[in-house]
Amino acid sequence: MKRKTTDTISIIVFLLPALILFFGILVLPMVLSGYYSLFEWNGVGDMKFINFGNFKEMFTSDLVPMKAGLLHALLLAGLSVGIQLPLSLGLALMLGRGIKGERFFLSINFLPVLISTVVIGKLWSAIYTPKGMLNNLLRSLGIIGEKNILWTNDGKNGKLLLACIIPMLWQYVGYHMLLMYAGVKSVAPELREAAKIDGATTWQVDRHVVIPSMKQVLKVSVIFAVTGSLKAYDLISILGGNKNSSAAVPSTLLMNQMFDANRVGMGSAIAVIMIILCFAFAVLINFLFRERD
């Protein structure tokens, strides 16, 4: 009995630092965000309780284009799952077969993940500038005339959303590829060999042996891709700023409201929506994968 009590105390004491950090860094800010979201507050002055006024405003007013922001985030999530992950899977399967130069191609594809997003943003800004590489390439191919396409403009003639999506998808292909590559490599060689002896083609081996074996890795990739899209911020902010509406996502709206407009209450309300959505999607994806198991 005494030993059991001592063990329990030890467990509590050992867990305490981690628990303090968990509650202090994760739970407390979330609770505070929920609290602040019920107020109209500029961050330094008096707080005015407005109940769910911020939530109501973000879905009914054009001043905080939350509906558009969520649509853009969901579009990004859809494209991530529909384009980015299949590309990553294709690369992982190809490299997983032990082709010549496997390590080299692995490193090349993973390189964009290692580069700072700020650097990538600046590189793509240079590509997108009116007299930049992309417009010159399109002009040399005869696709555009004298008039430049304004890729990073937030107006009706701009192509900001498309301009943000392309580098975002490109940057993380390597990340998911590496996750999936590990999954491909973890498939027992005996299984592949057995399938081949039975007359399966390479594609059939991948389709019926490798991919089903890496379902857990695929689940993790889908969760990362979807929640990452809902939290997308850096590249959009660099290319389009936080005030833009044509490529606004919840994170840029949060920053805009919180720091440009000094609306801490509204920024917190957006944060609450983001937290709920990320949790909801993670649970949903888990459920979908579990059901198929």
Binding site: F14, P17, N153, G241, N262
Partner: protein
């Protein structure tokens, strides 16, 4: 024994984490009541300052000079400063105020930006400290934007206006020996430039560069409607619902539609546009007078500076300008050495005003008692324009509180992109700005 040791280690870890808390976080209000006259500047203490004078900032040199002078004068004060880029500084200072963890001295913009911190009681009142400096600054004019409820909270540094820069070599090529003095003449000049395939104006309007568009819109509204109208709207004393303002915005859009602006401008940032102007791609560039020093440094660049011409002489006149003292230093109310910081800030503000003026980064907010014979001719001309002015309206995004300024800038971006016309612009702002 091992368990006891492990337990002790964990307890030590927890205690060390708790010890990381900042004991100095509480606001030291007692220092607020110390009269400046009694401030002992000889005692040893440390002061910190946050500002936006990063390495690439045109004001960097003046900060380095001023700080070197202050360190030499007060070797007992351990002064540390940190510069953050303009766009990153705004969220940083706001977050710091929310957390009550601000530097002793901080850079700020006047009017609404500083006003929100003052209203929340976070800024140290400088009335006592100013008494010693009363004869060195025109307080009525220069401290107007940092005075709230009759109390002074900021130290103005330099003053800038929106100026019309003209490349005289390009203008000469279309038959102009001087900057067009009337609006009609300016339009004729633009047509002549267009006929020669020269872009008249360069304006950056890419992401987060909307402030550059306001450098055109605000002077046009002012010269079409009068300074008082615009000033009242920015101050919240009049509604945006004004037909003259709508007309002025349409004038600006007409200029865009006629092809007077670089069609690529909406995808360019201000640095690129400025470099294009220096490279001779545009005839005119309207932006802050802080650019004088950079233009004056370029060999062979023949630039003249003037104010935007009057559009409606019945409502406006020359001498009505956009600008004023905005760059400001202030003292955090929670500073342990607030009284020392206040005096230090006032002295340093004077030096920053001096070195900023000598470097051509702006006009002095403090009285000039030093040799100014070496100042570049562009800055001298701006000083002349300001001396002849009789009304200055502060930049809209500085004059308005953050929430309203954000809406205003978003609507300005729509004007440039042709998404709204003057009438929609004024009606949108009337409805959205509370």
């Amino acid at each position: 024994m091992k368990k006891i040791l492990a337990t002790l280690l964990v307890v030590a870890m927890v205690l060390s984490l708790a010890a990381c808390g900042d004991k100095n976080n509480t606001t030291n209000n007692s220092s607020n009541n110390t009269p400046a006259g009694a401030v002992d500047m000889t005692k040893s203490c440390s002061l910190t300052m946050w500002c936006i004078a990063v390495e690439t900032d045109s004001n960097r040199a003046s900060y380095e000079h001023a700080i070197a002078d202050m360190k030499a004068k007060y070797p007992n004060i351990d002064f540390k400063w940190e510069a953050t880029q303009n766009d990153d500084y705004k969220p940083k200072i706001k977050a710091a105020f929310q957390a009550d963890a601000v530097s002793d001295i901080f850079f700020t913009w006047s009017c609404a930006f500083l006003g929100e911190f003052v209203k929340a009681g976070k800024v140290y009142c400088l009335d006592e400290a100013y008494k010693e400096f009363a004869d060195k600054i025109d307080m009525g004019r220069m401290c107007k934007n940092t005075t709230y409820d009759g109390k002074k909270y900021g130290v103005p540094l330099t003053m800038n206006i929106v100026a019309l820069f003209a490349n005289m070599d390009i203008l000469k090529s279309v038959g102009y020996d001087d900057v067009p003095a009337t609006y009609e003449d300016l339009l004729k000049c633009c047509e002549a430039l267009k006929a020669k395939n020269i872009i008249p104006f360069g304006c950056a309007a890419a992401a987060d560069q909307t402030w550059c568009v306001t450098e055109y819109v605000e002077p046009i509204i002012e010269k079409a409607c009068g300074a008082k109208v615009l000033d009242d709207i920015f101050a919240g004393n009049a509604s945006w619902d004004n037909a003259d303002v709508a007309k002025a915005v349409n004038i600006f859009q007409d200029m865009i539609n006629k092809g007077y602006f670089d069609p690529d401008g909406a995808g360019l940032n201000n640095d690129t546009v400025k470099n294009n102007f220096i490279a001779g791609d545009y005839a005119f560039y309207m932006n802050g007078s802080w650019n004088c020093a950079d233009f004056a440094k370029v060999d062979g660049l023949n630039v003249k500076v003037s104010e935007f011409p009057v559009i409606d002489a019945s409502k406006s006149k020359l001498g009505q300008l956009i600008g004023g003292p905005s760059d400001t230093l202030a003292v955090w109310n929670g500073s342990k050495n607030a009284a020392v910081a206040a005096k230090y800030t006032l002295e340093m503000g004077q030096l920053l005003s001096k070195y900023g003026y000598l470097d051509g980064c702006g006009l002095p907010a403090w009285k000039v008692d030093y040799d100014i014979s070496n100042i570049n001719p562009l800055t001298k001309k701006v000083a002349e324009i300001v001396n002849n002015s009789d009304y200055m309206v502060l930049f809209g995004d500085t004059a308005m509180k953050a929430e309203d300024a954000d809406k205003y800038l978003k609507e300005i971006a729509k004007v440039y992109g042709g998404e709204v016309n003057g009438t929609t612009f004024t009606s949108d702002l009337k409805n959205s700005i509370r």
